[in-house]
């Protein structure tokens, strides 16, 4: 406690020190007032949220304590409460920590792209914890900026869609989950996750550190939809490669399904008056 007080004295604004003293005297309402509505100061945010969690719990506001711990752990996922903390607080903190760690590990399932599709469908496995929202920020190959895609809960997953990319390469992304009003990110704009994108008909990219998709296999695709401008060599390659595509796809399907022949459903959408 003395060490905490010293640390706060050296690094913290006066309100945080005051709040700690008031908390130690069991003057929880005043301690909360001394903390203010938010812990905005970057230097003291973590000890501020930690103390706020203790104060809220003492006031019987478990939801407020939980939110404070979420904000703290979102910045410092390896944080711990330390010794001499009540079992109730330890249990709450431990539960929040597991939730935050789970959200920080969320990933997008491999992106699937086929000929004729103008839309990519993204899918994220639903985490154990209930979310108030989940957003995907994705930068398609060749693009610098991230576009936001709000994901919608569908059964045991969150899904969303975006316009399909026009070129191969690495797609970068990060996810931001809304956990009780607190954003918890998996990846970031400065440290995004990555997915290898390969359009049907193009050569596989060289091995890299990016995530690869089980669907991202040579031959599992179909020609680029008609109507897109294509150089002559590409058109010839696609036509000539069509047989290879089918043959490889059938072979892979046989290997994957233990011998049963794969079939195809070719869906065509038309309008009729």
């Amino acid at each position: 406690m003395v060490a905490t007080l010293i640390a706060l004295t050296l690094a913290a604004p006066p309100d945080l020190v005051k709040a700690q003293k008031l908390f130690d005297r069991a003057q929880y309402e005043k301690a909360l007032k001394a903390l203010g509505e938010r812990c905005d100061d970057e230097m003291t945010r973590r000890p501020c949220e930690r103390l706020r969690g203790f104060v809220m719990m003492a006031l019987g506001d478990e939801g407020g304590a939980r939110a404070a711990f979420v904000r703290w752990l979102a910045e410092e996922p390896e944080a711990s409460l330390g010794p001499d903390v009540s079992p109730k607080l330890q249990a709450l903190f431990g539960a929040v920590k597991r939730e935050v760690l789970e959200l920080r590990e969320l990933t997008v399932e491999p992106l699937r792209l086929r000929a004729g599709e103008s839309t990519w469908v993204f899918r994220v496995d639903k985490p154990e914890v209930e979310l108030d929202g989940l957003a995907l920020f994705v930068a398609l190959p060749g693009r610098e900026s991230f576009a936001r895609v709000d994901l919608r809960r569908e059964g045991d997953a969150y899904t969303g869609s975006a316009s399909a990319p026009a070129e191969d390469g690495e797609a970068r992304y990060y996810l931001v989950a809304d956990l009780s009003g607190v954003p918890v990110a998996s990846g970031s704009e400065s440290a995004p996750r990555s997915l290898t994108v390969r359009l049907a008909g193009s050569a596989p990219p060289p091995p890299n550190g990016g995530e690869t998709s089980p669907f991202d296999m040579p031959g599992l695709g179909a020609p680029v939809p008609a109507g897109d401008p294509l150089p002559g060599w590409a058109l010839g390659a696609m036509i000539g490669g069509g047989v290879v595509v089918v043959a490889v796809g059938v072979t892979l399907a046989l290997l994957l399904t233990g011998g049963s022949d794969p079939g195809q459903l070719e869906v065509t959408v038309t309008f009729r008056d």
Partner: protein, 139 residues
């Protein structure tokens, strides 16, 4: 009585010069619904769930289980934008006698407003059958 929303999915068996097990599926939309349904989710399932329970069309149609439920034997799926001439291929539909095709129609906001389903679809060499999948507006 369910209101037909004019969306008819016809599954035809035919050979088209590629692999033998190709089933052509034509989706016909009534002009009245063209402005509402902007995309379709098409799913192909095996008949048995991973927990041993048989999958049926009513289960999906009534929303008892989501098409993305991991217990389902999802063979393949795709999204197709509802526009004239758009195509999509599900090319990993394992052969067998009892395949199930489930279709969801979504509006521009991504909300499912219609669905349809057909089961007992044969994806077998030499099979040539016509199967109709009627997509109804959700009640």
């Amino acid at each position: 009585m369910m209101q037909r929303c004019g969306l008819l999915l016809v599954v035809l068996g035919a050979a088209c010069g590629g692999p033998a097990l190709v089933v052509h599926t034509a989706v016909r939309l009534d002009a009245q619904l063209a402005g509402e349904v902007t995309s379709l989710n098409v799913y192909a399932f095996g008949p048995e769930r991973k927990d041993g329970v048989m999958l049926t069309c009513p289960t999906l149609m009534l929303g008892d289980v989501a098409p993305t439920d991991k217990r389902l034997d999802l063979l393949d799926s795709a999204v197709v934008a509802v526009s004239g001439g758009a195509t999509v291929t599900l090319d990993e539909v394992a052969a067998g006698p009892n395949r199930l095709v489930y279709v969801e129609g979504k509006n521009a906001g991504g909300v499912v407003i219609a669905n349809g389903c057909t089961e007992y679809i044969k994806v077998e060499e030499g099979a040539s059958s016509e199967v109709e999948v009627d997509v109804y507006r959700l009640q």
